[in-house]
C-alpha cells in the first residue's frame, strides 16, 4: 500500500489511530496552531504535534537565535546563530512530517497582541512561552473573547509550568473509568423478554452455570419487586440492610453443586444494579443549557445533539442507552444475544435522536448537520459528557484576591508546588521592573537574591498574603537557575503541553483545568484550579 508519495497516513499513524481513532485524527488534521516564541519548550511541543499530523502551524517570533537557543533547542543549531529564530526552527520542524506545513511570521508578538487581535482568528489553538506578564494578560483577553484555547507553557530552571485557558470545551468522549449502563432496575421490553426466556429451574447444570449475571439480577429484582418491596418501602434495595437481604435472595437462586462464578459476578454487581438509572446532575445541567440555546448556522454539533437528547429525555425519561455489555460468564450464544439486544436498543435510540437532530438543524440551515456516527458516539457517552470552562488568565492575574486566600492556605504546605507558582509570578514581576530575569548575569546573582526577595514581599502584600510565605531556599534556587531553559525540562513540559493540546483538539479525555506545576528537583507534579 506504499505509493510514490511515501507511506499512507493510515500506516504511518497506525499506533495513534488506535488511541484517538479516525475522527480524532481528522480533528487533528483540521487544526491550525499558532506558536508564540520558538524557545525549546515551544518547539518541543510543536514536534509532538507535527509528528502525529496537525493541519498546520505558524511560529510568531521576532528574536534572533542566540548561543543559548542553539544549545538547548533541538531545532536550532550553529547555523541558526544570528538568524531569525522562528525561521530556522520552522525549517527543521518542517522536516518532521511532509504532511504538515509550517510558516513563520517575523513580527514582535507584543506588537501583534497590542494592535492586531484579528491575527489570532486564523487559529484554533495558541501555544505561547517567554511572554511578559502584560502580554500574557492581553493575549488571554483576546483568546478568551474569541473562544480560542490558549496554553502558556514554560520551563524555568527546574520548574515546569503549564496553564490552559478555554472558555468552553465540550467533551463527548471523556473516557471515564467505567461506562456501565445496563438498566437492570428499569429493563426495557426486549431485555425482559430475554430474561424471561431463561427458565432457571428447568436448566441443565451446564446451562445453569452459564446464565449471564445480568439475567440472574433481572430475575432477582423481579422477585424482589413482586414479593419483598412492600416490606422494604422501596422498589429497589438501596440501604445496606436491604442490599444484604437482596443478596440473600440472589444466593437463594443458586443450585448446590453447580459452579457459581456467574452468581459471584452477580453479587459483585449488586451495588450497581440497585442504583436507580438516573440522569446525572451535570448531564441534566448540560441538557437544560442546550434548551436555552438558539440553534443557528454556526451552532456546534455538541449543542445540537444535546438538544435532541434533551427532547428524547423529556419524552422517555431516560438518556439514550450506551449499548455496551461488560464481559461476563456466559456461553457464547447467550452473550452474543445479550450484546445484540443492548446494541440494537442503543441503535434505535440513536436513530430517534438523529432524526430529532436533523429536524432541529433543518430549520436553522446548519452547514454540516450531525451525522449518525457522531450521534451514536454522543449517545454512547451521554452519561459522561463533560464541559470544561476554565477561568481566564487575565482574571487570575488581576483579580488575584479571589484565589489569594486559597493560594495562601495551599502555600503553607511546603511540599505543595504552589510555592513554585508564586516564585514564577515573582520572577515575572521582577522582569517587568528590571527588564531581565533574576540571576541572568552571573555577577548579579548575589544582588538579585535581595532584589527578588523584595519583589516577592511586595507581590505577596498586594495579594493580601503573608510576606514569609516563600522560603529563602526557593528564592535562592530560582535566582541560581537564572531563567535558563534546560533541555530535558523543555522536553518534559513540551510533552505535557502537547499531550493536553491533543486532548483539546480531539475533544477526547478531560484536559487540565487549569494549571500544572512540576518540581524537577523533587520529581512531583501538582495541578491547581486558579
Amino acid at each position: 500500500m506504499t505509493n510514490s508519495n511515501g507511506p499512507s497516513k493510515e500506516q504511518k499513524y497506525d499506533r495513534q489511530l488506535r488511541l484517538w481513532q479516525a475522527h480524532g485524527q481528522l480533528a487533528l488534521e483540521d487544526s491550525k496552531i499558532l506558536a508564540i516564541n520558538a524557545c525549546a519548550t515551544v518547539t518541543e511541543s510543536l514536534k509532538n504535534l507535527i509528528l502525529p499530523g496537525i493541519g498546520s502551524f505558524t511560529i510568531l517570533d521576532a528574536t534572533i537565535t542566540t548561543p543559548q537557543d542553539a544549545g538547548n533547542n533541538f531545532f536550532l543549531d550553529r547555523n541558526s546563530l544570528g538568524k531569525p529564530r522562528g525561521e530556522c526552527a520552522v525549517a527543521l520542524l518542517n522536516e518532521l512530517n511532509p504532511d504538515v506545513a509550517g510558516v513563520h511570521v517575523f513580527e514582535d508578538p507584543s506588537k501583534i497582541i497590542a494592535a492586531n487581535s484579528e491575527f489570532f482568528e486564523k487559529f484554533n489553538l495558541v501555544i505561547a512561552s517567554q511572554l511578559s506578564q502584560a502580554d500574557v494578560n492581553a493575549l488571554s483577553n483576546i483568546c478568551f473573547s474569541k473562544n480560542i484555547p490558549l496554553m502558556i507553557v514554560r520551563a524555568y530552571g527546574f520548574i515546569g509550568y503549564l496553564r490552559v485557558q478555554t472558555n468552553e470545551h465540550c467533551i463527548v468522549e471523556s473516557h471515564p473509568e467505567s461506562n456501565l449502563d445496563l438498566r437492570l432496575d428499569s429493563p426495557f421490553k426486549e431485555l425482559i423478554e430475554y430474561s424471561d426466556s431463561f427458565n432457571l429451574p428447568a436448566l441443565e447444570s451446564m446451562d445453569f452455570a452459564h446464565v449471564p449475571y445480568a439475567v440472574i439480577l433481572l430475575k432477582s429484582l423481579q422477585e424482589w419487586k413482586s414479593k419483598l418491596c412492600s416490606k422494604h418501602n422501596n422498589a429497589l434495595p438501596q440501604t445496606g440492610s436491604d442490599r444484604n437481604a437482596f443478596k440473600d435472595l440472589v444466593r437463594s437462586l443458586k443450585r448446590p453443586g453447580v459452579e457459581d462464578e456467574n452468581f459471584e459476578e452477580a453479587l459483585v454487581a449488586v451495588f450497581r444494579a440497585c442504583s436507580p438509572t438516573t440522569i446525572p446532575l451535570n448531564i441534566s445541567a448540560i441538557l437544560k443549557e442546550s434548551k436555552s440555546k438558539i440553534i443557528a448556522a454556526d451552532t456546534p454539533s455538541f449543542w445540537i445533539i444535546a438538544r435532541a437528547v434533551a427532547n428524547f429525555v423529556d419524552e422517555t425519561g431516560y438518556l439514550p442507552l450506551a449499548g455496551i455489555v461488560p464481559d461476563m460468564k456466559a456461553d457464547t450464544e447467550s452473550f452474543v444475544k445479550l450484546q445484540t439486544i443492548y446494541r440494537d436498543r442503543a441503535h434505535q435510540d440513536a436513530l430517534k435522536i438523529h432524526t430529532q437532530a436533523s429536524s432541529l438543524v433543518s430549520a436553522a440551515a446548519v452547514a454540516t448537520p450531525p451525522n449518525i456516527e457522531e450521534v451514536s458516539r454522543f449517545c454512547k457517552n451521554a452519561r459522561n459528557l463533560r464541559i470544561v470552562r476554565t477561568s481566564s488568565i487575565a482574571s487570575e492575574l488581576t483579580e488575584s484576591s479571589n484565589k489569594a486566600a486559597e493560594i495562601g492556605r495551599l502555600a503553607e504546605d511546603l511540599e505543595s508546588n504552589i510555592g513554585l507558582y508564586l516564585g514564577l509570578r515573582a520572577v515575572d514581576a521582577f522582569y517587568t521592573a528590571n527588564r531581565r530575569f533574576p540571576g541572568f548575569h552571573d555577577q548579579e546573582v548575589e544582588s538579585d537574591i535581595g532584589l527578588l526577595k523584595k519583589t516577592v514581599a511586595s507581590m505577596l502584600l498586594k495579594m493580601g498574603l503573608s510576606a514569609g510565605l516563600l522560603n529563602d531556599d526557593l528564592i535562592h534556587e530560582i535566582v541560581r537557575a537564572g531563567a535558563s531553559e534546560l533541555h530535558t525540562m523543555a522536553s518534559l513540559m513540551g510533552g505535557i503541553c502537547s499531550q493536553e493540546a491533543i486532548k483539546l483538539i480531539t475533544a477526547q479525555y478531560v484536559p487540565l483545568n487549569n494549571t500544572f506545576v512540576y518540581n524537577g528537583m523533587k520529581s512531583v507534579g501538582g495541578s491547581f484550579e486558579f
Binding site: A70, E95, P511
Partner: protein, 576 residues
C-alpha cells in the same frame, strides 16, 4: 578558521547555561558518565536527544529492530527513507556523517555536541558478549525497551553488575519511569525458579488422531503450488474439521454448534462481488462473509507462492506471522472472520485484528517525550550521588487524577523477589576441564559453605538436584554451560534452617587453562524467601469490591513502547 573558534566559544556558552541549572558538578558527572541505552524506539529517540542536549558525551545504544513505517509518527530521528533499516545502524550513520558537517536535516543529535562519543550496536542485548563485566563498564543503564524478557534480562545484569538502571515504559497516554538502584525491587515480576515436569499422557486414540492430522496436513502442503491450494485448506478447516467436531454431539448439547461453510457457494458469490474496498475502508470496514472468503483465497495463494520461492533458496525456510506483512495480515483477518462466522461470533475489521493478533499498544510522541524527560531528571539525581532523592514517576490521565505526574520513593527490595533476594557471582573456569561435581563440592559446599539440598538450573533446564546427580562427572563444555547459556541458578533448600535457603546466580566465563576457578562477587547474599504452603488463592470478595472504583490501570503487551503500567491511587502524593 574563524568559524571554528566562534563555534568553540558558542559551545562554551551553551554548556554554562545547562551547567548553571543542573549544577556544575552534576553537569561534569554527566559529561564523564558512560551510559548504556537499551532500545532506540519511541522513548529511545527522545532519550538520545535529551541526553545529548543535557551534556552527556559517552553513549552506547543497543537495538535489534529495524524501522517500520508505523514508527514514523513518533520516532523523529527516522524518516521514510530509513524504513526497514536497523535502528541502531541508522542512528550511528546519521550521527557520524554529520560530525563537523553542515546539518542537512533534523537528523542530527550530534551536531550540538561534537565532543560526544556515541556508539550504536545492531545486536541483541542477550548476546553472551554483553556479560556482567561489560555491564560494569557503564555508570548508568537506561532501558527504553518494548518487551518484558529484555527488561528482565537487563535488570538482572544490572543487579549482577551493581549498576543503576532507569527503566521506562509507555502505553497510550500513560507511562512510567522506575529507578532500580542496588536495593530496589524488580518491577517485572519475580524471576521464576526453573522447574519442568512433564508426564505426557500416552493416549493411543490421541496419537492416532495426530497421525491422521499430520498426514492430512502433509498432503495439503504437498499441493502448495497447486491452483487448488486455497480450496484444499478451506475444505479441511471450514468443512471437514467442523464436521468432525459436530460428530461429537455431547460438545454441542449446551452451546450452538458451528455451521460449516460451503466452498462452492462462496466461490460462485465471489464472482459477483465488486472488488474489495481499498484504503481506509479496507482496514476499518468489517468485511462481509464473501469478502472474507475472497481475501482468504487471494492472500493464501500469495503466501503459498512466497513460501515456494523461499524454499527454492532455503529448504528450511518457514513463515511466521508478522503484523506488518500486509498479506499475512489479510490472511489472518480473513481466516479469523470465516471461523468467527461459523460460530456466530462478531466479525472484526482488519484494523482491529491487527491490534489483537499483533498485540499492539498505542504509542504517541507526547508520552514518550514526557517519559524520556523524566528519565534524564532521574539520571541527574543518580550522577550527583543523590540517589535517595530518586523517585519512581508515573504519568496518569488528567481529569480525575489531577496530578498528571506522580512521584513516589522506589520500593524497597521485596522478600519474595527472586532477583533481589539472590547472590550474584561471575565464575572464571576452563569449561573444557571443570566439572559439575567440582562446582558443587568446591565452589558451593567448600567455598560458599551452602548447606541444604542443592538444585542447579540453566534457564529452566535442570542440571542437578538431589535426585539427579548424573551430570557430576561432566565438564561445563559437555553440559553446554558457557557463552549464551552461561548462567546458572543455584537454589539451596534447608528444611531445618530457613536462614540457609539461598539463591545464587553464577555467570560462567570461560578462561583457557584456568587452574580451578576464580569467583567474583559479593559473598554477603541474602536469605531466599521460600513460600509456605500455598494459601487459598481464591480472592474473597467483599463489599468494597462493589463500589465503583477502579484503582488499577494496567497495560501490558509486547509491542510499541509499552510496558507494565501499574498505578495505585493511594500511593500518590496527593497535592490538591
Amino acid at each position: 578558521m574563524a568559524a571554528t573558534s566562534a563555534a568553540t566559544q558558542t559551545f562554551a556558552v551553551r554548556d554554562s547555561d545547562g551547567a548553571q541549572t543542573v549544577g556544575r558538578n552534576t553537569w561534569t558527572a554527566a559529561g564523564n558518565a558512560r551510559v548504556l541505552m537499551v532500545g532506540a524506539g519511541g522513548i529511545g529517540c527522545e532519550l538520545l536527544k535529551d541526553l545529548v542536549l543535557s551534556g552527556f558525551k559517552n553513549i552506547v545504544i543497543m537495538d535489534l529492530d529495524t524501522i517500520d513505517v508505523s514508527n514514523l509518527n513518533r520516532q523523529f530521528l527516522f524518516q521514510k527513507q530509513h524504513v526497514s533499516k536497523p535502528k541502531a545502524y541508522v542512528r550511528t550513520l546519521i550521527l557520524f556523517l554529520l560530525i563537523g558537517h553542515k546539518p542537512v536535516a533534523s537528523e542530527s543529535a550530534l551536531r550540538f555536541n561534537p565532543a560526544a562519543n556515541i556508539v550504536a550496536h545492531h545486536r541483541s542485548i542477550f548476546d553472551a558478549e554483553f556479560n556482567v563485566s561489560w555491564f560494569r563498564s557503564f555508570d548508568l543503564v537506561m532501558n527504553a525497551l518494548d518487551n518484558i524478557p529484555a527488561r528482565k534480562h537487563v535488570n538482572l545484569m544490572c543487579r549482577a553488575a551493581n549498576r543503576p538502571l532507569i527503566e521506562s515504559g509507555t502505553a497510550g497516554y500513560l507511562g512510567q519511569v522506575a529507578v532500580h538502584l542496588k536495593n530496589t525491587i524488580l518491577l517485572f515480576g519475580k524471576e521464576e525458579d526453573g522447574d519442568i515436569s512433564t508426564s505426557p499422557d500416552e493416549n493411543a486414540k490421541e496419537i492416532e488422531d495426530l497421525k491422521r492430522e499430520a498426514d492430512e496436513l502433509k498432503s495439503i502442503k504437498s499441493n502448495l503450488s497447486s491452483p487448488d491450494f486455497a480450496k484444499l485448506v478451506f475444505e479441511k478447516i471450514f468443512i471437514r474439521d467442523v464436521q468432525r467436531l459436530l460428530e461429537m454431539s455431547e460438545m454441542w448439547e449446551n452451546r450452538a454448534p458451528p455451521v460449516p461453510l460451503s466452498y462452492n457457494t462462496l466461490d460462485i458469490e465471489r464472482k459477483n462481488i465488486q472488488s474489495i474496498a481499498t484504503g481506509v475502508d479496507r482496514n476499518l470496514k468489517v468485511w462481509s462473509l464473501v469478502e472474507n472468503f475472497s481475501i482468504f483465497c487471494e492472500s493464501i495463494s500469495i503466501l503459498a507462492n512466497r513460501l515456494v520461492q523461499e524454499n527454492l533458496v532455503d529448504s528450511e525456510f518457514s513463515m511466521s506471522f508478522d503484523k506488518d506483512d500486509d498479506d499475512a495480515l489479510d490472511f489472518v483477518t480473513a481466516i479469523t472472520n470465516l471461523r468467527a462466522y461459523m460460530y456466530g461470533i462478531e466479525l472484526q475489521s482488519r484494523f482491529k485484528v491487527k491490534e489483537m493478533a499483533g498485540n499492539i499498544i498505542p504509542a504517541i510522541s507526547t508520552t514518550n517525550a514526557i517519559i524520556a524527560g523524566l528519565m534524564v531528571l532521574q539520571a541527574f539525581k543518580i550522577l550527583s550521588k543523590n540517589e535517595e532523592e530518586c523517585k519512581n514517576t508515573y504519568l496518569v490521565h488528567g481529569g480525575q487524577r489531577t496530578q498528571i505526574i506522580c512521584g513516589e520513593a522506589p520500593p524497597k527490595p521485596s522478600k519474595t523477589c527472586g532477583t533481589c533476594q539472590a547472590g550474584y557471582f561471575t565464575i572464571h573456569i576452563d569449561t573444557h576441564k571443570f566439572t559439575l561435581g567440582q562446582f558443587v563440592n568446591k565452589v558451593l559446599k567448600q567455598d560458599l559453605q551452602v548447606d541444604g539440598e542443592i538444585s542447579i538450573n540453566e534457564s529452566g533446564r535442570m542440571i542437578y538436584d538431589p535426585d539427579f546427580e548424573d551430570n557430576v562427572t561432566e565438564t561445563f563444555e559437555v553440559l553446554k554451560i558457557s557463552g549464551v547459556n552461561g548462567r546458572l541458578l543455584v537454589l539451596v533448600d534447608n528444611d531445618d534452617d530457613e536462614e540457609k535457603n539461598v539463591a545464587i546466580n553464577f555467570f560462567v566465563v570461560h578462561k583457557d587453562n584456568a587452574i580451578s576457578y576464580e569467583l567474583d562477587g559479593d559473598r554477603n547474599f541474602p536469605v531466599r524467601y521460600v513460600a509456605k504452603a500455598p494459601a487459598d488463592e481464591r480472592r474473597t470478595r467483599t463489599d468494597e469490591d462493589e463500589e465503583p472504583s477502579n484503582k488499577k490501570t494496567k497495560a501490558d503487551g509486547n509491542e510499541g513502547e509499552n510496558s507494565i503500567v501499574e498505578v495505585e491511587d493511594d500511593e500518590y502524593v496527593i497535592l490538591l
